[in-house]
Symmetry: C2
Subunit: 322 residues, 2 copies
């Protein structure tokens, strides 16, 4: 089957299936470009991300799980800006025209796209080593995007959900743990990240800066520190751990994974202390756990962890691709 | 060197070098997303394209030439919509952190970006088999995009420039032809496609449909026929050939390459006969050759070529990736 037939058969139907999401799309898949309209008073936010076989996922990862992880990870970048997802473009490189793979992938992509309210509007399918690139597009009110660059000394550092679960899920795969409810929970956290879209929108009125945790908390918060020109003190004992990770491994390993494990796709954000009470009130009717884990301090202190009764400097050690 | 250091050192400086192109960019490289503004009264057009080593280019193709081809091919999709280029995102997968490669690539990308007035606003750098994905963004006046779907029976079919040169350039590489002015010209046509941006904008007031020639004239015009519900008659003898291709090969091969060779990145467009005179007048002060090569006919005729004194049906045989 040639490239065009593949695209036509599996990706063309996506837009029709999600009628509700078609706003702003004058021309979708099938022309040289998609033609799109950004609503008045809104800015466009975009992020591009790649998953490579052998680097970001194990060989023989089911196509369905790749679709969820690709889209989840990408939409998480929109969440970190406080944005509303709108459109998706997809560049798919496949070793051969594997119809079963494309069928599984496109079905999962359709399901994930519907859940995240994002619409596939264009793509490219090429032959080569398995590589998946997604660009996500979203909207923020003009000048209301939540950036990395505005954290202030004294701000609380908060994280959503629980940390380390995705790293633990990877561990269950690497060690071929037998399936049980704990193992399945952790694997789902690895395979199906749930980007914090509505939480990102909710906190954007209170937070001073935000990033999504893709490379590990320590690596990612360093970006906030670099771009805001501040330091941070984080208490590892305060990190939120799931019951499942605590069941799966010892406390020391769980906290290490919570600090440095990648791909949790929770949000890490800073909030001025005077906003904390209002934020908490606002969060009461919202189904997400938000945990203060530290505070922003002077740049000279760098990044410090509380350990054995004192604050100690750490080198950022987020997951590196090289 | 880690991913972040690579990006910082080579890609961060791009926006600063091109101050003139920074319009509409509130946040460029360095946050979770770029934050961008589309001008009032304009629509956003986007296209994503991938080049894979071994599929789209030969191993050991210099990084500089890859940057030019990637950007040229992508911007050509904007040209085919009659759009004005604005922003670029880049997903780069590299086998290892090759500083010399990244340095050469980013320098050429900066030069090409400046020439095409497009600004790098975001990207992702990952480890894996050499794969380059670019998404280009541009603007068109609302509802003025030049589509594939509006060709009408009786319209003239026109192409810009000369065809087949890129395929001939590839041949000079495959056959390791010794360098001379003809060979160098053809190689440049292969390595440095010149997207017809200003021509696309100019013809958009006259043309009824348009596509850029990336897979070969026959393959690409088939997309116009499919989406407009029409047929086409093309006269191979009318195809514009460069002096160089005629010097490099025989007339039969040259016309075959002009019909089916990919990656010329010229425009193929249809124009109602009553617009032809105005278009020609308008083109007089514009440095581009436009050649009528056929006409749109009834869908039942399919795609026909004039050969040995009569019109004969052909199967579309554009370059296929699978």
């Amino acid at each position: 089957m040639d490239e065009f037939a593949l695209i036509r058969r599996y990706f063309q139907p996506l837009p029709q299936r999600q009628q509700g999401a078609c706003e702003g799309v004058s021309v979708g898949i099938g022309d040289d470009c998609a033609v799109l309209s950004v609503p008045e008073g809104q800015q466009l936010v975009v992020s591009i991300d790649t998953l490579v076989e052998g680097t970001h996922f194990l060989t023989d990862t089911p196509a369905e799980q790749l679709a969820w992880r690709l889209l989840g990870a990408s939409v998480s970048d929109l969440a970190a800006m406080g944005a509303t997802p709108s459109w998706l473009t997809l560049a798919l490189t496949l070793p051969y025209a594997d119809e079963a793979w494309v069928s599984d992938f496109s079905a999962a992509l359709a399901e994930a796209s519907q859940l995240y309210s994002i619409q596939l509007v264009g793509g490219d399918t090429t032959r080569g080593p398995l590589t998946l690139t997604a660009q996500v597009h979203g909207f923020v009110k003009t000048d209301a995007a939540l950036l990395r660059s505005n954290a202030q000394i004294g701000d609380l550092i908060c994280v959503t959900g629980t940390l380390g679960d995705s790293r633990a899920g990877l561990e269950t795969l690497l060690t071929k743990s037998s399936s049980n409810t704990v193992v399945e929970y952790l694997r789902q956290r690895f395979y199906r990240p749930q980007p914090r879209v509505s939480t990102g929108q909710l906190i954007s009125a209170y937070a001073s800066s935000c990033i999504d945790i893709s490379d590990g908390l320590l690596g990612d918060i360093q970006h906030i520190l670099d771009q805001s020109g501040v330091g941070a003190q984080i208490n590892p004992e305060a990190l939120p751990l799931s019951a499942e990770i605590q069941h799966f491994t010892d406390d020391k390993t769980a906290r290490e994974w919570a600090l440095s494990g990648g791909e949790d796709f929770e949000l890490c954000f800073t909030v001025p202390p005077e906003q904390w009470v209002s934020l908490q009130e606002h969060l009461q009717n919202h189904d997400v756990q938000v945990t203060p884990v530290g505070a922003i301090c002077d740049e000279a202190k760098g990044l410090q962890l509380f350990s054995q009764g004192e604050w100690r400097a750490v080198a950022a050690n987020g997951y590196k691709h090289f």
